[in-house]
């Protein structure tokens, strides 16, 4: 980027290299000189999208669809109907899906069973049986709440189980991460302000989420709004309150009810690890589950290749990375792969499928495993 600024190379000439970057930001964790690569990457995206524009479809989806609750709700309902009517099985069997490009077909096959969110958990504040240890506002995310509403529900129950009073604020919106990754800073800023304003109400101790990628965006709201005087301070307060679910659960401790079994490994979300800098909490939680054998994943800090929408936009490269990742998984030969972000979750499901391991290895969000060990079920 410095060389672009100095005119030694053009923005077009660096485009391919920059676009192939996963944005996993492991380089920041590794960097001895504290280079803020995230900012460099974002400035590239911004310059690039100002020069050429984000493709219209992508822009519409990111600007309007994700923050639109009604639309996301409809999407969830129709996906659910697609699965419920067993149209999905029919479509797969009849090879109707063959008309889709490979990358979309690959993901259609691993789309999780869509569940409707638990209305009761969302509409009323959840109060623990004993004195609340903390007052928590829960951040649901947009895509997460379509594909993984169940994980959000379980997170809320676990937080309550650990002694938190949990509220789901209606006014919350999309975190703005995907828009920011594609260079649309303005939309991200707008969403950031809406979220900050929404969560300021109610005087919560923490804003908690169970989505590595969204959490990373939320903790960078202070950077995003640094040059807007009326928001900078408010953003800082918001950032300080923002925590990944694993941090709070590990801090408060869980009361496990059930003896679990098997070898468990953990694929951290890059943005949880490298941006939110959360590394110890998920591992400590896993190690504390009775009965399981936790085995660290070799090169676990290497991105799985999901990287937002990278696995759709750069399908081939993403699959090369995934195949390397699965080689490391094979070394551990786990019964369970634990993830901490929906993107990684789907990618690992795809990896397991590509290796033909569906019958032997299950992929779960850390919250699912913890809930199971605590005897909390979804219904």
């Amino acid at each position: 980027m410095q060389m672009v600024a100095e005119g030694k190379i053009s923005i077009e000439e660096i485009t391919e290299s920059m676009e192939l970057c996963l944005g996993c930001r492991a380089c920041e964790t590794a960097c001895p000189t504290n280079v803020q690569y995230g900012k460099i990457l974002e400035s590239f995206k911004e310059v690039k999208s100002a020069a050429t524009g984000v493709p219209l479809m992508e822009k519409r989806a990111l600007q309007r669809a994700l923050p639109n609750k009604k639309l996301m709700g409809t999407m969830r309902a129709s996906l659910r109907a697609y699965q419920k009517t067993r149209l999905d099985t029919f479509a797969r069997k009849s090879r109707m899906l063959g008309i889709l490009p490979e990358q979309l077909r690959a993901f259609e096959e691993i789309t999780p069973a869509i569940e409707m969110p638990n209305k009761h958990l969302r509409r009323t504040t959840q109060t623990p049986e004993r004195d609340p240890q903390a007052r928590v506002a829960f951040f649901t995310g947009c895509i997460m709440d379509v594909f993984f509403a169940k994980i959000n529900d379980l997170s809320i129950k676990l937080l309550k189980h650990a002694g938190c009073e949990v509220t789901v604020i209606k006014e919350q919106t999309c975190c703005g991460a995907l828009q920011n990754h594609s260079g649309d800073t303005n939309t991200s800023k707008k969403l950031a302000k809406e979220n900050i304003a929404a969560f300021e109400k109610g005087n919560f101790d923490f804003v908690v989420n169970s989505i590595g990628g969204c959490g990373a965006m939320l903790v960078e709201y202070d950077h995003l709004l640094a040059d807007e005087p009326e928001w900078a301070e408010r953003a800082k307060v918001f950032v300080q309150k923002n925590k990944d679910v694993s941090v709070i659960l590990n801090k408060l401790g869980l009361d496990f009810q059930k003896e679990m079994a098997g070898v468990v490994t953990y694929q951290p979300s890059c943005h949880l690890l490298n941006v939110q800098k959360v590394s110890g909490d998920p591992v400590q939680l896993l190690e504390s589950i009775p009965g399981i054998t936790y085995v660290p994943l070799p090169k676990g800090d290497m991105c799985c290749g999901s990287a937002g929408i990278y696995n759709i936009v750069h399908y081939e490269e993403s699959m090369e990375i995934l195949d390397a990742k699965m080689e490391h998984v094979q070394k551990v030969s786990p019964d369970t792969i634990v993830t901490s972000n929906p993107g990684c979750h789907l990618q690992m499901c795809l990896g397991v499928k590509r290796e033909g391991l569906e019958d032997r290895v299950r992929v779960v969000h850390i919250v699912e495993l913890l809930a199971e060990a605590c005897g909390i079920d979804h219904k």
Binding site: M3, I9, E13, E16, S17, P32, T33, N34
Partner: protein
């Protein structure tokens, strides 16, 4: 010139076209290193076998195309800079071989292996690979061998060349030869191993190395000694090293580097002092406990304000982290860092500090001094901005004077970074005309067409001066 025909032939030599890079973005990415200046290569190859290297070098020799071997580009002397364009051979992909043989206590490595990984693997067998350049978690062993890299542990354990038993080399004419072997004792013929190590990629390309490992010390103990006067720190170094104890590391940080680190990432170093020395002792836990008490008394005896022995591993790690943070911390003030490694005999350390202070005042430059004090290998770093042409002129003069002083005091231009591009003009000053000529004749014998890393070590024309700004 790399013609289309040359590219076609390279494609047939390389096992995969994916490891041939020619895009503008790639050329730019390979145009610089950790030192100064940027030069575009014409093509980059990423070999992962000796045959690929031999094939590419043979072709380059036939067509008289310059070849620039490169590890991970952390060089502080310009070793991998493609100053005359041509081919860059990037060895960072060739990490496949890292075999430890605990019975022979050797490691066999391919050139792209990361230095710290060798020590980490050796540790599994209770062994150690001692050379530890500060960039060891990034740098490749190939680059370390080519530059004969040092590091803090050099004080007790020596440098890269002291741990090389044998090499496989591709000569500038594309022949594959082996030097040395896997035994400590080996006097068969000339010691080409030692000649190649530190030849900065000008005599051949290392494609495999057999390295000596040693038993790993059981324990380490770190201490920090604080001084109100940096000259006293110099005296303390000599006093400790003549007291019958040989620490594994003795690192000095002057006031500017301490303050820079504390501003960058507060670690709790004392900022009201003139200098600190970090000392590490290694060996049997009982022995080093006793030795650290002795070292403490010796330092206090020559005027140290205080000597603090690290309580546990965690506080020891924090102190060494402070030392590692010096380089990143000092560049926050101004963007350009000119890092020197002029090295002087131990007894001259106090004198060198005095002369550096004079140079700093005379040329009004930001000069920070830290480094491996125990072996006289100091790192005077000039912090400047290459856009400021007037200041850069003063910097040129200051650098020249640092070299002159080092040689006057019986020292050398470079302790561990290598000569590369920037120090080439000063070679004759240290070696004399006949000494430099003998080196040139060896280069000519090995590389008659001057294709192997041309533009390094030797001044390209008589009376060449150090130039940091282009008018």
């Amino acid at each position: 010139m790399i013609t289309e025909q040359v590219v076609d032939r390279l494609k047939s030599i390389m096992g995969s076209e994916k490891r041939i890079l020619m895009e503008k973005a790639d050329l730019v990415s390979y145009s610089y290193d950790g030192s100064f200046g940027a030069y575009l290569p014409e093509i980059i190859l990423q070999p992962i076998s000796t045959e690929e290297v031999a094939g590419a070098v043979k072709l380059a020799n036939e067509m008289k195309i310059p070849v620039y071997p490169r590890g991970r580009g952390t060089s502080l002397s310009g070793g991998p800079l493609p100053v005359h364009g041509g081919i860059v051979l990037d060895f960072s992909r060739w990490t496949q071989t890292l075999v430890i043989d605990p019975e022979d206590t050797v490691a066999i490595v391919s050139p792209g292996v990361i230095t710290a990984d060798i020590d980490r693997e050796a540790k599994q067998h209770g062994l150690m690979y001692p050379p530890d350049p500060s960039s060891s978690h990034v740098s490749t062993i190939g680059g370390n061998l080519a530059e004969n890299a040092g590091g803090p542990r050099g004080l007790k354990y020596g440098v890269t060349k002291d741990y090389v038993l044998g090499l496989e080399i591709v000569t500038p004419e594309g022949e594959i030869i082996r030097t040395g072997g896997r035994t400590v004792k080996n006097v068969t013929g000339y010691d080409l191993t030692k000649l190649i190590v530190g030849s900065e990629g000008t005599l051949g390309i290392i494609t495999e190395a057999t390295l000596q490992l040693i038993p790993r010390p059981q324990a380490t103990q770190t201490m920090m000694v604080i001084f109100d006067d940096i000259i006293d720190a110099g005296k303390a170094i000599s006093a400790v090293l003549t007291s019958g104890i040989l620490p594994s590391k003795m690192e000095i940080m002057d006031q500017s580097s301490i303050r820079a680190v504390e501003e960058f990432q507060p670690i709790g170093l004392p900022v009201d002092v003139d200098a600190i020395i970090l000392i590490e002792l290694d060996g049997h836990p009982i022995a080093i406990r006793d030795e650290s008490e002795q070292v403490k008394q010796v330092c206090l005896g020559v005027g140290a304000r205080e000597a603090i022995i690290a309580r546990d591993e965690e506080s020891a790690e924090r102190l060494w982290k402070a030392r590692k943070l010096v380089s990143p911390a000092i560049v926050r003030k101004k963007p350009t860092k000119i890092s020197e490694d002029a090295t002087i005999p131990r007894s001259k350390i106090p004198e060198m500090f005095r002369r550096l202070q004079e140079i700093k005042a005379k040329y009004e430059i930001d000069l920070v001094v830290f480094g491996h004090a125990g072996d006289g290998n100091l790192h005077p770093n000039i912090i400047t901005d290459k856009q400021d042409k007037e200041e850069m002129k003063r910097v040129e003069k200051a650098v020249e004077e640092i070299f002159t002083v080092a040689i006057e005091l019986g020292g050398t231009l470079s302790g561990e970074h290598g000569i590369g591009t920037m120090k080439a003009p000063f070679m004759e000053m240290e070696l004399g005309e006949a000494g430099l000529d003998m080196m040139k004749r060896m280069k000519k014998a090995w590389d008659p067409n001057n294709i192997m890393n041309p533009g390094k070590i030797f001044p390209e024309k008589k009376g060449q001066k150090l130039v940091l700004v282009n008018d």
